[in-house]
């Protein structure tokens, strides 16, 4: 329009004499055009500036990525082949005959060959490499590189378990054009904009062709928009369909083409386009779409899979391959046909590709978002340390301690045992709920969090938010407080387990009873804990004084207010399962308090360490004293309230733990550790009504189910220098001979060994069989 006007003016000037009405009209037209020219020009300049500013300044809000721990591979690791296969499946590895590319695995009997993808960790780049593995009954037997040389250690990539999304819930994995396979671009161009590389932003031929195909087909099968126009639409313009938007779309597309290369435009398009909906999360870009539909990175997809992704551009919801597989298949095959038509692929290849199934991964096997309870813990920590907008937009990489193998076993154990209990007890346990937390007994790593029976459900997270009385789980603190007074108390101190009445500070009285409603006379201290006698514990605690017990609980890691009433001695204190884990962590790691960690480190999008959460520890107890407590906790499992656990484990495996049951059996607890794991299990009802379960008949069953699946290492106590073992007569607390009846090998802290000794007549001597306490340090 602007160009024509000056020419028109020229013509008019030749007919100067004829000043008529029409010439006045033309002058007006000229002036109007001039205004139009200026206004249009300014508009174009404005649009141009907008486009350049937005395109160049465009940074997608990149949600933080949350990763599980990377699986370490090394000879001698207790890793079962099936668990490794599960891990590889979560990572989207392809099973093939011959491994040739990263992300592939081949299995041959008890041998496996994998080609890892490599990954940038906080401590450096883990290279992509070929690893040969062999398994035996103990686990991973050997590890070798491609040439067969022994490899000391290798790491897999970490499984992506979730993200932290911005308010619009857009999620994407950015890809660079170089990373995008040619076949995908060909498929995309073929179906959406075949003259993409020739046009200047809009394509008249494209529009014409689209109209022609639509008329021929009698319905809309093609749109006339170029990829550039589609990008402009998504990128710069709001989603409202106004005339104004339609009008400026074409000039904007042309301006975009003027300033940027086809490659730049294509790269932006590949990352921007909307390709599906995962719940509230909008799947944008081909990088994420590949993970969402196939569970694998873009460059590992086959021709038919690339074609399916290209097919989805037109309508991700209409062609949703999970909900409408026939529609999706039909459109995918149309894309393949177009590729053949435009001679990108041969007839043969096209036929083969069309025969293949859609090859989607099930929505359920996608690990992202599969562990809401653990992610909840991670997010709470992140929100303390970061701003929400940084988490949702900076593409941070969050490395956690989640072990998906342990997590899945913990979920399955809780589901299985609660299912069995509900069946056995019928209505009384219909809505029984539970929680499990699992950690590394030494490092403080939280490796699994199960927030309820339905572990996929993102709701009430009982592992963190069910604050319930801990019952007898508190007792180790009472006994620890006593043992710390090593001149006064040893494991064989004789404690009366007899009825008592205590006046509370508020005037009420407290009259505890044993679970079996009996009193057991005088019992050795170790036995009072192992059998969880309430009366003996209460007497011991009262003797010590509440201050000492409260101080011990605080040093063990309890951060809540603790009531000074004596009921605290028997577990009126309420904690969440995670808080209980903190308390037992200090016990399991010999008196060193180690804050529980769900996050290892946070890296920026380009791999720089932003913050790390290093291993922290603080010695709170003398390891020698803690050793005595650990003895009693092992006794609990061998002979006390939790002895049923050995129905499922070999005697050679050392375990330690404590059962807990609260008033009217509202809560069933078990806290226990092995050489490598510390796990807390809780069962109860959300409405806090009584259950028929004790700690032993409920939570202990979940715990032992889990440990059976985990194949834990034996707990090998390291005997502190200040501890020595002596044979003691349990009934008197005096030293005796090993061969005397009732003799028991008991650890003592230096200076507390009993002075009296009484042997036994020759005739009563017995040969002791190997007993568990001689196995404590084994070796």
């Amino acid at each position: 329009m602007a160009k024509k006007t000056p020419a028109a003016r020229g013509r008019k000037k030749q007919n100067k004499p004829a000043r008529s009405r029409s010439s006045r009209f033309l002058t007006f037209l000229f002036k109007l055009s001039l205004v139009g020219f200026v206004v249009g020009g300014i508009g174009l300049i404005y649009l141009d500036a907008t486009i350049r500013a937005k395109f160049e300044g465009k940074r997608w809000a990149l949600p933080a990525k949350v990763y599980a721990r990377p699986l370490e591979l090394y000879a001698g690791q207790a890793l079962k082949a099936e668990d490794l296969r599960l891990e590889l499946k979560s990572l989207g590895y392809q099973a093939v005959k011959n491994v040739s590319r990263p992300g592939q695995v081949s299995v041959n009997g008890n041998r496996m060959r994998i080609r890892t993808r490599g990954f940038g960790f906080a401590d450096g780049q883990e290279p992509s490499r070929t690893i040969n593995l062999s398994f035996n009954t103990g686990g991973l037997h050997s590890l070798a590189d491609k040439q067969g040389r022994a490899l000391p250690v290798a790491r897999l990539e970490p499984v992506l378990i979730g993200g932290i999304y911005p308010a619009d819930n857009e999620d994407r994995d950015l890809v660079k054009l170089e990373q995008v396979p040619k076949a995908l671009i060909q498929a995309l161009v073929s179906v959406e904009d075949r003259s993409f590389y020739e046009h200047y932003g809009i394509s008249l031929r494209g529009i014409a062709r689209a109209m022609w195909s639509n008329i021929a087909a009698g319905r809309m099968v093609q749109g006339g928009s170029t990829l550039t126009q589609q990008l402009v639409k998504n990128f710069f313009l709001t989603s409202e369909r106004t005339l104004w938007r339609k009008l400026i779309e074409a000039p904007m597309a042309m301006l975009l083409e003027l300033h940027y290369s086809k490659d730049e435009i294509l790269q932006a398009y590949l990352n921007e386009v909307y390709l599906g909906q995962a719940g509230a999360r909008a799947v944008h870009g081909f990088g994420l779409a590949s993970q969402y539909y196939f569970g694998r990175p873009l460059d590992s997809l086959s021709l038919d899979q690339h074609s399916l992704l290209a097919a989805l551009v037109k309508g991700p919801s209409y062609y949703d391959p999970r909900r409408h597989p026939e529609r999706a298949l039909k459109r995918r095959n149309l894309v393949i046909d177009l590729l053949r038509q435009q001679q990108y692929i041969s007839d043969d290849l096209a036929d083969k590709a069309k025969k293949r199934p859609l090859g989607l991964v099930s929505n359920k096997t996608l690990v992202k978002g599969a562990f809401p309870a653990y992610l909840d813990l991670v997010k709470r920590q992140l929100r303390r340390d970061y701003r929400q907008e940084d988490l949702a937009s900076e593409g941070l990489q969050v490395f956690t301690n989640l072990d998906p193998i342990v997590q899945l076993k913990a979920e399955a154990s809780l589901a299985k045992v609660t299912g069995q209990l509900a069946k056995r007890h019928g209505n009384k346990l219909k809505d029984i709920e539970g929680a499990v937390v699992v950690g590394n007994s030494q490092t403080g790593d939280v490796v699994a969090v199960v927030g309820g029976r339905n572990a996929r459900f993102q709701g009430f997270n009982r592992a963190l938010d069910a604050i319930r009385p801990i019952g007898s789980l508190v007792k180790p603190a009472v006994f620890l407080a006593a043992l710390e007074q090593s001149r006064q108390y040893t494991l064989v101190s004789q404690i009366p387990d007899t009825p008592l009445r205590i006046d509370n500070p508020n005037g009420t009285t407290w009259e505890p009873r044993n679970f079996d409603k009996k009193s057991h006379g005088t019992v050795p201290l170790h036995q009072a804990l192992a059998r969880s006698y309430n009366l003996a514990t209460a007497r011991l605690g009262i003797d010590m004084g509440m201050d000492k017990v409260i101080d011990t609980l605080q040093r063990l890691g309890v951060r809540r207010d603790i009531s000074p009433y004596p009921a605290t001695l028997l577990g009126s204190l309420s904690l969440s399962p995670l808080e209980v884990m903190q308390l037992y962590q200090t016990v399991a790691s010999n008196g060193f308090e180690t804050p529980l960690r769900s996050i290892r480190s946070v890296l920026t999008a380009d791999g720089k360490v932003l913050s790390s959460y290093p291993f922290e520890l603080e010695q709170k107890f003398d390891p020698a004293i803690m050793h005595l407590l650990q003895y009693a906790l092992q006794e609990t499992v061998r002979e006390g309230t939790a002895k049923s656990v050995y129905k499922r484990f070999p005697a050679s495996l050392n375990l330690a733990g404590k059962t807990g049951t609260t008033n009217d059996q509202r809560d069933s607890w078990f806290a226990g550790f092995t050489g490598d794991y510390l796990a807390i299990s809780w069962l109860g009802r959300d409405d806090n009504k009584p259950t028929p379960l004790t700690g032993s008949s409920g939570s202990l069953q979940v715990w032992s189910e889990l440990m059976t699946r985990l194949r834990p290492q034996s707990y090998q106590a390291v005997m502190p220098e200040a501890v020595s073992y002596h044979w003691v007569d349990d009934r008197t607390g005096w030293l005796t001979d090993e061969v005397c009846p009732g003799a028991r090998l008991i650890p003592f802290v230096d200076g507390s060994v009993p002075e009296q000794k009484r042997g036994c007549p020759e005739s009563s001597k017995v040969r002791k069989a190997v007993n568990w306490f001689t196995r404590l340090f084994s070796s």
């Binding site: 001698g76 906080a122 009954t137 000391p152 010999n590 790390s612 070999p650 495996l653 017995v766």
Partner: protein, 192 residues
């Protein structure tokens, strides 16, 4: 286990451990970590004679396969059955003092400790820390890990963490005189 075997054990273990002591007088250097392995592997060599058949867990529920545990050199065979045998047999009470780890130091552990060492020497303390935490996850009860972690923290002038790590390492070093010496020296350095 027969009395003869026990006698052999009680004589040989201290001898072998003692021989380690002379074998490697300055365990302090990280390069000498391997110096501990003879002590540990000696138990590997000797102990199998006392391991009998491994019991298998009593599988219940849907788990159809009986589970056997990985051969654990420390396991002693036989169910405890009070007074079933007639001959009185003394149990070597000294045995518990041998806090021999049930697993030999793995190649993985050594490789990671070495990697951390070279990262530290290259001045990249954060990476060294990450590598040592990898090592810790593989062998959370191995004092060598804590020795190196503590030294690294000392190097970073982080005295408080260095001290706590040394204490933790010391608590895992019972029966290992060299390790104890190394940690005690370190604790003195830290407090200086």
């Amino acid at each position: 286990m027969t009395r003869a075997q026990k006698a052999v054990l009680s004589i040989f273990l201290p001898v072998i451990l003692a021989s380690c002591a002379t074998h490697d007088p300055n365990l302090v250097g990280v390069e000498d970590r391997s110096g501990q392995s003879p002590g540990r592997s000696s138990s590997q060599v000797l102990i199998p004679s006392q391991t009998g058949t491994l019991e298998t867990g009593n599988a219940t529920g849907n788990e159809s396969t009986a589970r056997s545990y990985p051969a654990d050199s420390s396991s002693i065979s036989g169910q405890p059955s009070e007074g079933s045998e007639a001959i009185p047999q003394p149990i070597n009470i000294e045995a518990p003092v041998m806090t021999v780890q049930s697993k030999p130091p793995s190649g993985a552990l050594l490789a990671l400790l070495e990697q951390a060492e070279s990262q530290q020497q290259a001045g990249n303390n954060q990476r060294a820390l990450s590598s040592l935490e990898r090592a810790q996850r593989i062998a959370p009860r191995d004092p060598a890990v804590y020795l190196q972690l503590s030294r690294l923290r000392l190097d970073m002038k982080d005295y408080q963490r260095a001290e706590q790590l040394a204490r933790k390492g010391l608590s895992l070093s019972s029966g290992n005189k060299q390790m104890q010496r190394a940690f005690n020296t370190l604790l003195k350095q830290i407090k200086r």
